[in-house]
């Protein structure tokens, strides 16, 4: 019997045993298995899509999916990313405009059921026949100006509008300050616009005497909801005095205002009252009042109080009040959102205040959790937390914890907008580059995030270059330079100077391929500056030092031809070029001239040295005459440049 048959027999044993046991199971009657049918789990129409989506995470090696997946069409620089995305959005807007102008061509009903988003919007003018239904539709579609127009039409025709619709309209126009808003469809514009919103912040933008107020006056017997809507709108757009007036008016009438109305007033307490004491008393009064009328506080109340406290200076009172507030709301069962923690952070960690490690205490509360957007301020948390890790605490471990939280589940949705995202990464990068070993930083952070997730700004690039210089790890320079070219950093004088200086100060060992690469980078810089557009704003100009550095790189690579081009440039445009190269570079050039047996070039260089006032010109001339046999003409011009003295004793030919 050989092994295989033995094996075959052994492997047959198991099924045999099974076969024996099965009947005994089959006939046993004492096992009563009850089949339990699980309860049906109700699923939404997009649940499967969401489940699928949760299996995919962001791939840092691929560009964002909003861009075309084609090497030529993927933007690399920050400007490019913005331009490409906005250009797409502009195309989308153009299509919307066409549809609006030629609405009659788009009224076919292809989809069943009809999808409203594909149909042109109904437009109204002075002669439209309208009903209250149209008004309701405009309100639910957030068409602020349409809703106003329809309302006026209805009024002029004397059609009665129900109080509910009137209230809805009032809430709409108050929230949007009687202005149309950017449609939610244009996500790119929402993602990239940030500056305008920051500017508008904290400034009265409420339109006095606008449609909202007109509507409010037109409502007979205003209710608490009517008052609430107007107060909310006014405090949202910083018309604070009148908001407070209305609040008092409503109270005199004995109306019970909503919790959100109270919140909005607490939010703007800094505009209403002068100092800490008065503000805090005002807040406490409002909260007591809420309690009296039986309105329960919510997350908005917590965040409003914390927001107000965060702007009350860096005194100890504010910090104590923050803790007391958190304590009390915890007892009420209101869980703080990320926005609340943001306010706590900015109260505790002031730029010119004592160092506070409160972020260490906050992290355990929020770590390993998925957070939903519950307050507008929630999107401020991550960028602020990272700022504090970098500037306040210099704590790399904490920064990594914050970053892990950001990438947990769908928390990345709370990053805010493109501006906040890039600030977040700026802080993260600069903190890591200064704390991690360079190799680890490059492999685990830089190569992973750049350029698809984050494109370093010039200031961050400077930091990276600084570390490369400190560590002398110049092998990263070619990669960094190519990145800088892609990111449009190469028109910045300080960055170019830094790169050149690093390459000059860290001379690669002989036979290293870096010598060649460095020379290429140098030449790349030369060509870039040389071929710039004449009419360019902020033109780069050659300096003597810069040209000298490029020349040194070319010479190290034994590229005498390119060095000569630069020497000619220095010579010809010496009145335009500021400064002169270092003496060592010029001396190196003369050495190469000697090797190349090119005395006339060497003499031109010595002439340049003499003109620039280098006392070493004489030594160079001596070196030249020592090593090369010069003809009469050359010696004649040399003597003319440096005089006889340095050459005395070396040659016997007189100039005249």
């Amino acid at each position: 019997m050989n092994i295989s048959t033995l094996f075959f027999k052994r492997s047959n044993i198991k099924p045999l045993i099974k076969h024996i046991y099965i009947p005994s199971q089959k006939f046993s009657t004492d096992v009563q298995e009850k089949i339990e049918i699980p309860n049906r789990i109700p699923r939404g129409p997009t649940d499967i899509l969401r489940a699928l989506e949760s299996t995919i995470s962001r791939d840092p090696t691929a560009a964002h999916y909003k861009y075309h997946d084609d090497p030529y069409l993927i933007p690399m620089s920050n400007v490019g990313k913005r331009t490409f995305a906005m250009a797409q959005e502009a195309g989308k807007k153009a299509a919307h405009w066409i549809r609006k102008e030629h609405a009659d061509l788009f009224n076919h009903r292809e989809a069943d059921p009809v999808i409203k988003a594909f149909l042109p919007r109904v437009s109204y003018d002075e002669n439209s026949e309208v009903t209250e239904e149209d008004l309701k539709i405009s309100i639910s579609d957030v068409q602020v100006s349409d809703a106003q127009l329809v309302y006026r039409l209805l009024k002029s025709k004397g059609i009665e509008i129900s109080p509910e619709t009137q209230l809805q309209l009032l809430e709409l126009v108050c929230y949007f300050n009687s202005e149309d808003t950017l449609s939610e469809e244009f996500i790119e514009e929402r993602w990239f616009r940030q500056s305008s919103r920051f500017k508008d912040r904290q400034r009265k933008t409420w339109k006095d005497g606008s449609f909202a107020e007109e509507l409010f006056i037109g409502i007979e017997n205003p209710t608490a909801e009517t008052y609430s809507a107007l107060i909310l709108g006014m405090s949202k757009h910083f018309q604070v005095e009148r908001a407070y007036q209305l609040f008092e008016e409503a109270q005199q009438k004995g109306l019970i205002l909503s919790t959100n109305t109270y919140n909005s007033l607490i939010n703007v307490v800094n505009f209403l009252k002068e100092n800490y004491e008065m503000r805090w008393t005002f807040i406490v009064d409002l909260l007591t009042d809420m309690n009296k009328v039986g309105q329960k506080p919510n997350l908005g109340t917590l965040n409003a109080v914390l927001h107000a406290l965060s702007q009350m200076g860096s005194g100890k009172n504010a910090k104590d009040s923050v803790l007391k507030t958190l304590r009390e709301f915890k007892d009420l069962g209101i869980e703080p959102s990320l926005g609340s923690w943001y306010y706590v952070l900015i109260t505790y960690c002031k730029e010119r205040g004592p160092v506070s490690t409160i972020l260490n205490d906050i992290m355990p509360q929020i770590e390993n959790k998925e957070h939903q957007a519950r307050d507008l301020a929630d999107t401020n948390f991550f960028v602020t937390a990272m700022d504090i890790c970098r500037n306040h605490l210099h704590d790399i471990d904490l920064a990594k914890r914050v970053d892990t939280l950001l990438h947990f589940a769908n928390n990345y949705n709370l990053i805010g907008d493109s501006y906040k995202e890039s600030i977040y990464y700026r802080h993260y990068f600069i903190l890591l580059i200064n704390s991690l070993p360079l190799e680890e930083f490059m492999n685990e952070v830089y190569y992973k995030l750049v350029p698809n997730i984050y494109v370093p700004e010039p200031s961050v690039m400077t930091e990276v270059l600084k570390q490369v210089d400190l560590n002398g790890e110049t092998e990263y320079i070619p990669k960094l330079w190519s990145d800088m070219t892609i990111f449009d950093h190469t028109s910045r004088e300080n960055l170019i100077d830094t790169v050149l200086n690093i390459m000059i100060n860290n001379e690669p060992p002989i036979e290293s391929e870096l010598t060649q690469k460095f020379a290429d980078i140098g030449w790349n810089i030369y060509e870039k500056i040389d071929t710039q557009d004449e009419n360019r704003f902020n033109k780069l100009s050659f300096t003597g030092d810069l040209l000298g550095n490029i020349m040194a790189l070319a010479l190290r690579n034994n590229d005498f031809g390119k060095a000569c081009i630069i020497m000619d440039k220095l010579d010809k445009e010496h009145n335009k070029i500021v400064g002169v190269p270092k003496m060592e570079v010029l001396s190196l050039f003369v050495d190469h001239c000697i090797v190349q047996k090119s005395p006339s070039r060497a003499i031109a260089c010595i002439q340049y040295c003499a003109d620039a006032g280098f006392p070493e010109a004489g030594d160079l001339a001596a070196r030249l005459t020592d090593t090369l046999t010069l003809n009469e003409k050359h010696i004649h011009s040399l003597v003319k440049i440096v005089g006889e003295l340095p050459l005395a004793g070396k040659i016997n030919v007189r100039a005249d």
Partner: protein, 136 residues
């Protein structure tokens, strides 16, 4: 039977030579007279570039390019076959008629028209010559 099969295949491949397989297994080439090739026709300069799409003469389109128009509406009992064909043609004409860089514009307008999401994927080549399939 075998012979017929082989002949059929080579015709599909569009060779100008017709291959005949003898029962004894030897292959014999029979040249079909072509005025362009045998020198009696006008001279061929071979300097006019064609892309792959252009390089298919009409009699080969059915063989090589049918898959471009295969879709489930053409199955028996399929819904709206004619509409799909018209829409297909519409998209092509629209793409050519619109400036091709206006990607989002095209996507958006087509989706308004066809009332479903429309996505365009463009591919670019570094060199114009990369898309040349052959010269005639």
């Amino acid at each position: 039977m075998l012979n017929a099969n082989l002949i059929c295949k080579t015709t599909v491949l569009g060779n100008l030579k017709r291959e005949l397989v003898n029962p004894d297994g030897f292959t014999q080439h029979q040249h079909v007279s072509n005025p362009k090739l045998d020198g009696t026709g006008p001279p061929q300069r071979k300097d006019f570039p064609l892309t792959y799409e252009m390089a298919n003469p009409p009699h080969q389109i059915a063989h090589r390019k049918t898959w471009n128009s295969w879709n489930t509406t053409n199955l028996q009992g399929g819904l709206r076959p004619s509409e799909t064909a018209v829409e297909d043609q519409f998209i092509r004409k629209f793409m050519v008629g619109t400036w091709h860089r206006l990607l989002r514009y095209t996507e958006e307008l087509l989706s308004f028209w066809l009332q479903c999401p429309v996505k365009l994927e463009l591919q670019s080549v570094a060199n114009k010559k990369d898309v040349i399939f052959k010269y005639i």
